[in-house]
Amino acid sequence: MALKTESFALNIGPLHPSTHGVFRMRAVLDGEVIANMEPVFGYLHRGIEKLAEERTYTGVIPLTDRLDYLASMSNNLAYVLAVEKLAEISAPERATYLRVILAELQRIASHLIAVGAFVNDCGAFFTPFLYMFREREKILDLFEMLSGQRLLYNYMRIGGFNQDIPDEFLPALQKFVSQMPGFIDEYDRLLAENEILLARTKGVGILPQDLAVNISASGPVLRASGVKWDIRKADPYCGYDRFEFDIPTGTAGDCYDRYRVRIEEMRQSLRIIEQAMKQLPSGAVKSTVPYLVRPPAGEAYAHIEAPKGELGFYLVSDNSIAPYRCHIRAPSLINLTALRDMTVGWKVADLIVIFGSIDITMGEVDR
């Protein structure tokens, strides 16, 4: 209706229940419809990249924990891979397999939060979220068993791990892996065919394939748009080529596809964990690394498929005990680039849903 009403600017965030932290969107609304939208970053800019320059290589690991705090293990992995590449250290076989297991567990944990929060953004009253949180708690238990912390593990070290896994870890993991598919089926029953969820997400926030590639999106956001791209397959690290798994992709690139892709990825991760558990060799978990790592001058880039997409660490060394420069390719930030294109023309409620479907962590966006 071409009524000459005013459009008005509205702050959504930073202190908004469903902005996953402190993201701020300056939206111009025309009634309920988004006429324009501008993301404002920086409400959690903690200067991780800068701080990394004044710490020893080992001392940076706690910092990377706090990057995407829902996937600390993945961040640790990406970072230690980069340092290992830089210093030409290789981790023992057992450590490599363990890293795969932990990274995949972490992916499940992160996707659980992503899906749960996403359904919450659609307006469900916490129930799916809490069910998923329950499973995440189980994973956190496992991680706590390894590292002593529930959220920020600081468990990986350059060249392996700081301690070996305790004896009770593998049985517990086995139990988890055998139970988890049942729970995923339960989520599917709860959500996948729910008419309201379908109505809210199908066809909403479509990210076309070419746009997704153009903004260099990665992770489930990219795969939901139908691009079969996964670093675990494209550039295998940690011996991912030894495992058999599929890359789920979507077709439409809408919010529902992103949700489905995440659910499917959890199943695939379980597959990987099972295989890795079977093949897990014994031996040391840490190769001999000097106490203070002092890589030769040079640069290295290592990337992994973190739960949210391609997480890369670019390190420059000047042969001192601290990185000269550390740059992080944060998938959350880059996936967010598409937000404006996806939301303009949709309603406020859709904005929240679309935003939730991208799944970001502010710690990674603002660093």
Partner: protein
């Protein structure tokens, strides 16, 4: 997937929640029931054994935060420097455990307990005596497998929540 049948998805979802109604809540009622933390728990404090400490300062150097402040006596006594002040600001420490990993004399350990909320900012700074191990301040087995063995096994949710989905 087919979405032919109107309302069935909603009914399925309702069935799932209804089934959960009859499951046992997984809640741990904290002050009365406590979860046993991991044997390697990194609790919210450090435990420091004054008898073993040689005031070498490795921990302070290893700490990425610079949390640990060590003041030693100016002169060695019996070939040893006496620690006059060993101070950890738990409000600043991030409990990463790097200092524990670094200590060559096994005199610094992660604490096992976590109930350390305080009313005042200065109360969260732990100094000498406050850091010593005691019954109320057990040390955890972080980096010390022998200690870990002695601790009770961790409560796992997966053991408790047996119901299969």
């Amino acid at each position: 997937m087919k979405f032919e049948h109107f309302g069935t998805g909603i009914i399925k979802g309702l069935a799932v929640t209804l089934r959960h109604l009859f499951r046992k809540p997984i809640t741990t009622q904290y002050p009365e029931q406590k979860l046993t933390t991991s044997r390697r728990a990194r609790g919210n404090e450090l435990v420091w054994d004054i008898t073993k400490c040689t005031a070498c300062g490795t921990c302070a150097k290893a700490c990425p935060q610079g949390v640990i402040r060590i003041v030693t006596s100016a002169k060695p006594v019996e070939n040893r420097y006496v620690v006059e002040k060993f101070e950890v600001d738990t409000g600043y420490c991030i409990f990463c455990g790097l200092c524990v990993e670094a200590c060559p004399f096994q005199s610094l350990l992660m604490g096992y307990s976590y109930e350390r909320a305080k009313y005042r900012r200065h109360e969260v700074v732990h100094t000498n005596e406050m850091l010593l191990p005691s019954a109320k301040r057990p040390a955890s087995g972080y980096m010390y497998p022998k200690l870990a063995k002695a601790l009770p096994p961790q409560t796992l949710l997966i053991e408790r929540d047996e119901v299969k989905g």
